[in-house]
Symmetry: C2
Subunit: 69 residues, 2 copies
Amino acid sequence: MKTTPARKQLGDRIRKLRKKQGISQEELGFRAGLHRTYIGAIERAEQNVSIDNIHKIAKALKVSPKDLL
Amino acid sequence: MKTTPARKQLGDRIRKLRKKQGISQEELGFRAGLHRTYIGAIERAEQNVSIDNIHKIAKALKVSPKDLL
């Protein structure tokens, strides 16, 4: 699976914030309106996530989109 | 053309920084390795830009990717 430093940084940041809040990938996906397997792929830096989805995930984690970068 | 607040915020930020640096969409596209018409569409909030391209544009503008959000 192709990846990039940009994807890795984003995925690591999302995983860190999600674990800090004690929620599962499934719960985060539910809150963001995204599938749990997609959340998993983002955290593994496999997805070239779009600005719209960055905002959805930030909202679900109750942080600023900036905080995910 | 479909747009979202997330795309508008990103597009406005990129346009502001680009103009502040006195460079054209063509020059920014050249530096980022992206087409000038794609830069134009991003600034008009018409594109759901990916994390990889956010990083490319940030590098071309010599700012942190965070600064584009």
